[in-house]
């Protein structure tokens, strides 16, 4: 069996180690997250706020629609029957 340091796997591990070291030493140069690294506070806040806005908006709409339909079902008096409910 070949020693690990002489194999391709060993070289890959070593390269990964070097890459991790570079990332640790120079994080600004490779930062892909605009929310995390920006010199302007206003810009960072805009990214955070719009991310929250665009994430919550569809959830809010779906939840609102669900509650509205639930209310309409209740008002009509035909609440869906629980299929697991035992027969009377």
């Amino acid at each position: 069996m070949r020693p690990l340091e002489n194999s391709g796997v060993g070289r890959g591990v070593a390269l990964l180690g070097v890459a991790a070291l570079i990332l640790a030493l120079f994080p600004e140069g490779v930062a892909a997250c605009p929310v995390c690294f920006d010199s302007s506070d206003e810009n960072r806040m805009a990214f955070i706020a719009t991310t929250a806005f665009l994430s919550l908006m569809p959830l809010g709409m779906v939840a609102g629609a669900g509650l509205w339909i639930r209310k309409k079902v209740k008002d009509r008096g035909d609440e869906p029957v629980d299929p697991n409910r035992p027969e009377p």
Partner: protein
Amino acid sequence: MSSSSATYPMEGRSIPERREPLIPNGVLGMLIFIFTEVMFFSGLISAHAIVKSQAAGQMWPPYGQPRLPVEETALNSLALLVSGVVLVLAWFAFKRERSAARIPLFMAMLLGIAFVGLQGVEWAALLADGLTIQSSTYGAFFYLMVGAHGVHAIGALMGLAWAFRRLDQETLTSAQLATVSAFWYFVVLVWPVLYWTVYL
């Protein structure tokens, strides 16, 4: 298929009586469409917020770009909001007696046409002042966001005109009126958000 109950020939079980849908199909389809439109405008508003926050020297509108007519557009916005209220009145009138909805529906359309027309006049003045879609990101966002809303307003007005014609012919159903009204309410309600984002 009739609404009366029928019998399965093989099983001898009765088919449940067909009931009115909980939400008319047209209204449901329009609501799904409005959901997508809300996300479209949310994307535009978010992009605008990001670009605004990156403006050089935090100066927005950018130096040398004409200022938007805030007061005139506020009056214009009022016309649009009133048209929404008048359309609500048209809905209640329609429920009471169909023919009573003619005047409020017509008034809502007129107010909507006034809004779109005045926006057109405003655009012409801004173009003359040098604010174009290519003059800056400020101009690009203005024409994109306000223009997208204008296209929606024109589409919704066409829907209201169609409803008015059917009302005249006494063929308009409440589901049809609810469908076109839902789109107009969307156009009315999204505008204050756009006004606050773009103009203020």
